[in-house]
């Protein structure tokens, strides 16, 4: 019902859009929840895992059994600090925890422990490039300030059974560790928001802080959206909760900006509400039927004295983590990787972005470039041929089982022109899911290119014999027919000749 209504709005919006006086501006700010890669939960020793037997990875504390108390997991602080440092945040020497109260069936304590007043870290920044092939011609740089990074508990999960009018509650996720990264509203549209999220995923994966698997809910995005006409104050903002994919972020924000515009253009008011992104219907819908004043009644968590870290020295104790020691552990970040690709290998920025966007491809590239090779050709092999084959088979590149050794052999053969790109793809198909050597496959199947000039010369002569007309045309000055002759040569040789060598030889023969 609601979405139909909105479509109507959108139609109206289109009709009247010519009358708009001033341009609309949109302002987008993100809040990202990332599950931390730990064995156990934030405040308990229960297993932190995805899936698992219902209500089994739950400690008494996670189920809010009376009398139980929280004890903070050291690894969570380490990962939080690591992330904070990677985003150039100011890590706070002392941070504290707060209770945020609301009633929900999968929040057993009636409050969530978070860090509202004195978070783990403040004032960071994320720099990223916005480039969506098909949307942007060229990448451009963008940055968003980070207001704070805080540690907090995840909630459990409810399965809603509409028919039986009940929810089934599983607490396996309750108390799982999260960092919430709160960004300033520095973005303008959905593509920027999506690009930020993509970069964030890459960074947390590099750091080993979070799996980044949005499809599992390991990284979830809330987007705050508001709009205004140029020069006017911002409209009321709405919050879109729990967006579960990078493209979802782009679509949800775009949808919400359009929705707000049409509401305002039709004289309506935007209400401060929480909306949900329905990925299937591609609309945002309000989460609660009525506008409800929320008051979380924050209160310091009395069961947790202040968390302290050592900001200055490398002295590290069980309870006081040395921040400089963690700083030593920061790996190369994606931005540096891209810069290096461009500088050291002379790659185009788009290619660098695409390579770094897929950590598996980036690793392959670095491994393959241990030998002196043409970087652009290697990158193209990965970005075009490998990706195409994997996509055809619906295999996620990060789960791809092809080994570096296999790719190494394959690349050698392609670059040394022992095989062409068609055969390269066929070889890729053959080596997925096994340890077979590409050399052996090419050998076995007789796919290797002929580079031997004697044999090529013979084959050329055979083509000339079969096509005397074309040869005559060439010799009469119609040089264009060389291409036709090469095509025939390629066909008759089953694609097995190195065509660059063949074309030289054929040209020489024809000039004789």
């Amino acid at each position: 019902m609601r979405s139909k209504f909105l479509y109507k709005y959108l139609k109206l919006h289109k009709r009247y859009s010519s009358q708009i006086a001033k341009k609309w501006q949109s302002v987008v700010g993100l809040e990202v929840h990332a599950q931390l890669n730990t064995e156990s939960k934030l405040f308990s020793g229960a297993q932190n895992t995805f899936g698992g037997l219902v209500n089994n990875c739950v400690s008494l504390f996670d189920a809010a059994i009376p009398g139980t108390l929280p004890v903070l997991n050291r690894k969570c602080v380490e990962l939080g600090v690591l992330a904070a440092l990677a985003f150039s945040c100011r890590v706070n020497e002392v941070s504290t925890f707060d209770r945020k109260h609301y009633f929900y069936a999968d929040l057993p304590a009636g409050y969530q422990i978070t860090q509202q007043r004195a978070p783990l870290a403040n004032d960071g920044v994320i720099n990223f490039q916005v480039y969506t092939p098909g949307v942007h011609k060229k990448p451009y740089n963008k940055s968003s300030m980070i207001k704070q990074i805080q540690l907090e508990q995840d909630s459990g999960k409810s399965l809603h059974d509409i028919e039986l009018k009940q929810s089934l509650v599983d607490l396996n996720r309750a108390g799982a560790p999260l960092i919430e990264i709160v960004f300033e509203p520095d973005l303008e549209d959905g593509e920027e928001a999506a690009a930020l999220v993509k970069e964030l995923v890459l960074i947390v994966q590099r750091l080993g802080v979070c799996s980044g698997r949005m499809e599992e809910g390991a990284l979830r995005v809330d987007a705050n959206v508001s709009i205004r006409r140029e020069g006017d104050p911002l409209s009321t903002r709405t919050e879109i909760k729990n967006i579960g994919s990078v493209r979802g972020v782009a679509s949800a924000v775009r949808y919400e900006i359009d929705r707000q515009q049409s509401v305002l253009e039709n004289g309506g008011n935007i209400i401060n509400e929480t909306r949900m992104w329905d990925a299937a219907a591609k609309v945002t819908v309000p989460m609660r039927d009525k506008e409800v004043v929320q008051d979380y009644r924050y209160m310091p968590e009395p069961n947790l004295p202040p968390l302290r870290v050592n900001l200055t020295t490398r002295e590290d104790t069980q309870d006081i983590i040395s921040v400089p020691l963690i700083s030593d552990r920061i790996p190369e970040l994606p931005a540096v990787s891209r810069a290096k690709l461009i500088e050291n290998h002379d790659l185009r920025p788009e290619i660098a972005i695409q390579l770094v966007n897929e950590p598996a491809l980036f690793d392959f590239f670095n491994n393959l470039m241990n030998k002196k090779r043409n970087p652009t050709k290697v990158a193209n092999l990965l970005l075009n041929d490998l990706l195409t084959v994997l996509n055809r088979r619906k295999i996620d590149v990060n789960n791809c089982t092809i080994s570096v050794e296999q790719l190494d052999e394959l690349t050698d053969m392609v670059l040394q022109k022992k095989i062409n790109l068609d055969i390269c793809r066929s070889v890729l198909e053959e080596i997925i899911g096994n340890r077979k050597s590409p050399f052996a496959i090419v050998d076995e199947k007789g796919w290797s290119l002929v580079t031997d000039s004697k044999e090529i010369t013979e084959q050329c002569k055979r083509v000339f014999d079969d096509n005397p007309k074309l040869v005559k045309q060439y010799r009469d000055g119609k040089v264009k027919v060389l291409r036709a002759l090469l095509g025939i040569l390629s066909k008759t040789s089953d694609n097995k000749l190195d065509m660059s060598v063949a074309s030289k030889i054929m040209e020489e023969l024809l000039r004789k």
């Binding site: 008494l60 009398g67 108390l69 009633f103 057993p108 304590a109 009636g110 009018k165 929810s167 009395p302």
Partner: protein
């Protein structure tokens, strides 16, 4: 055998060694006493089976081992807000009437490890919110002193534990102390009540009232027994982030402890307008005695008079927060309604909590509202610092004193009929006046019985010391105990009330 109720732990152990008594026999007598004094309503749950099993194990150890832990074969009871595995833990509330924990509070694990025998779980005000043990779904506990039809309250909220010890059903008992809940009933029932330094004893398994002030407390008939019990239960706990991390050094009570170099402070603000003349005289009496042995100085804790109101705000806020876990889904009462989660919660919580709990939840949520947070909650936290600083100044500033001596309560035990004529807030405001400042500052305090009032009811005084000064506190308490020679309550006094 009636004498047993005056036996100290050391007396009992001597009898064990002399084979004039064995643990099984002691436990039987305690249980027998508990059954004969049912009218006092000290217990919510008696645990004869557990106590017997534990006492039999003690007996085996007694035979095989020479050096025994001092709590070996000693009866103990726990306030019914400490979780005990497979023994229901009710908080005297409809909400948890059906709650049987699957784990043990750290304090109970430690007591069991030491060989103590659990005779039962004791009565309290619902969720420990009270100062009389009158607001329990199991009915009020009754003070064994001068027990007749016009009986007096036991004090609270750990009244059941106090009654159990003073009436001889248990040698020692554990309570909790948030604003005086151990010291108050100890004072009114004529026994020793110790509130340790915040964080010295683990709260893991104690169902919280005010997390930042709660401490497990000890009830005993004498200071020695209290010290022995504290030595067993104190120390850091990995399961409680608010325990003090440094290793606990057991306290020793010295017979020849020298107090001549001490300076005991008398904080003038503890004389408030509702204090009875008898209490003041009792306070003067001991001050007088002490002055012959050591230095006594008048000191000031200027913010004392506002402490009770600050305590009231902070208490309600934490209660509102702590009680939000009771919704009927995972444990506890679940109302029979299924229209919506909100309706289920509201109905469950309205049926499960009494008026006192509900009003504190309401008040706490009011003080925590966004527009009230700074005005009330933050203000109260700032005043809490001033109250805590007052103690810091008298213990560490110029003219510093070692300990403070004050009354524990404003009067002797009130009649149930008089007490319940007031509302819960006023009851607590009066009863907790002298005790809650120590909780605000997290410092240790002990209540010791001194003399009997004209009504033949106990009058007690409180000693407070700086954080972690338990050894000094208990040694001085022991000195006072020896000086005042408080009488033991005779069993027949309340058994044959007619």
């Amino acid at each position: 055998m009636n004498k047993l109720s005056s036996y100290s732990i050391r007396d009992i152990h001597k009898a064990y060694r002399d084979k004039t008594l064995n643990p099984r026999c002691l436990i039987d007598q305690c249980l027998d006493r508990a059954n004969k004094t049912k009218e006092l309503n000290a217990f919510i749950t008696l645990t004869p089976q557990v106590a017997h099993e534990q006492s039999l194990r003690c007996q085996e150890r007694l035979q095989s081992s020479k050096k025994l832990n001092l709590l070996e074969g000693i009866s103990v009871c726990l306030k019914d807000n400490f979780c005990t595995e497979n023994i229901r833990t009710t908080c005297a509330s409809n909400m948890l009437k059906n709650f049987t924990p699957t784990y043990n509070a750290t304090i109970y694990s430690k007591l069991m490890m030491a060989g103590a025998c659990l005779v039962g779980k004791t009565n309290l005000d619902e969720f420990a919110m009270g100062s009389g043990t009158v607001d329990s779904i199991y009915g009020p506990s009754r003070n064994p002193w001068c027990y007749n039809d016009n009986w007096r309250i036991a004090g609270g909220s750990s009244g059941g534990s106090a009654v159990a010890v003073s009436s001889g059903s248990s040698v020692v008992a554990i309570g909790s102390d948030t604003g005086g809940s151990t010291r108050n009933p100890a004072a009114l029932c004529g026994i020793v009540g110790l509130k340790p330094t915040y964080g010295l004893v683990s709260r893991y398994g104690l169902i919280p009232l005010v997390n930042s002030m709660d401490v497990p407390g000890v009830f005993a008939k004498n200071v020695d027994d209290a010290a022995i019990t504290l030595n067993c239960i104190a120390g850091p706990d990995d399961l409680d982030s608010t325990t003090i991390k440094s290793a606990f050094k057991p306290i020793s009570i010295k017979e020849d402890f020298d107090i001549s170099n001490l300076n005991i402070g008398i904080p003038k603000e503890y004389h408030c307008k509702d204090m009875s003349i008898e209490v003041i005289e009792c306070w003067q009496f001991v001050t007088d005695l002490l002055e012959k042995l050591c230095k006594v100085s008048c000191v000031s804790l200027p913010h004392t008079s506002v402490s009770i109101a600050v305590y009231s705000i902070l208490n309600q806020c934490e209660v509102a927060s702590n009680m939000s876990r009771y919704d009927g889904l995972e444990y506890g009462l679940r109302a029979k309604t299924n229209y919506s989660t909100e309706e289920l919660y509201a109905t469950t919580r309205s049926q499960g909590f009494n008026n006192v709990v509900r009003s504190r939840i309401f008040g706490g949520n009011y003080f925590l509202l966004r527009q009230n947070y700074e005005k009330y909650f933050l203000k109260a936290q700032k005043l809490r610092r001033l109250i805590s600083d007052d103690f810091e100044n008298v213990f560490n500033g110029d003219n510093k004193v070692d300990l403070l001596l004050t009354p524990t309560t404003l009067s002797d035990a009130p009649l149930y009929s008089d007490f319940t004529a007031k509302n819960n807030r006023d009851q607590c405001a009066l009863q907790d006046y002298c005790t809650q400042p120590a909780n605000m500052a997290g410092i240790p305090a002990i209540s010791i019985p001194v003399k009997l009032s004209k009504n033949k009811l106990p009058l007690s005084l409180q000693l407070m010391g700086p954080a972690l000064s338990e050894e000094l506190l208990l040694n001085v308490a022991k000195k006072i105990e020896a000086l005042v020679n408080f009488p033991v309550l005779e069993f027949n006094q309340y058994l044959n009330k007619n």
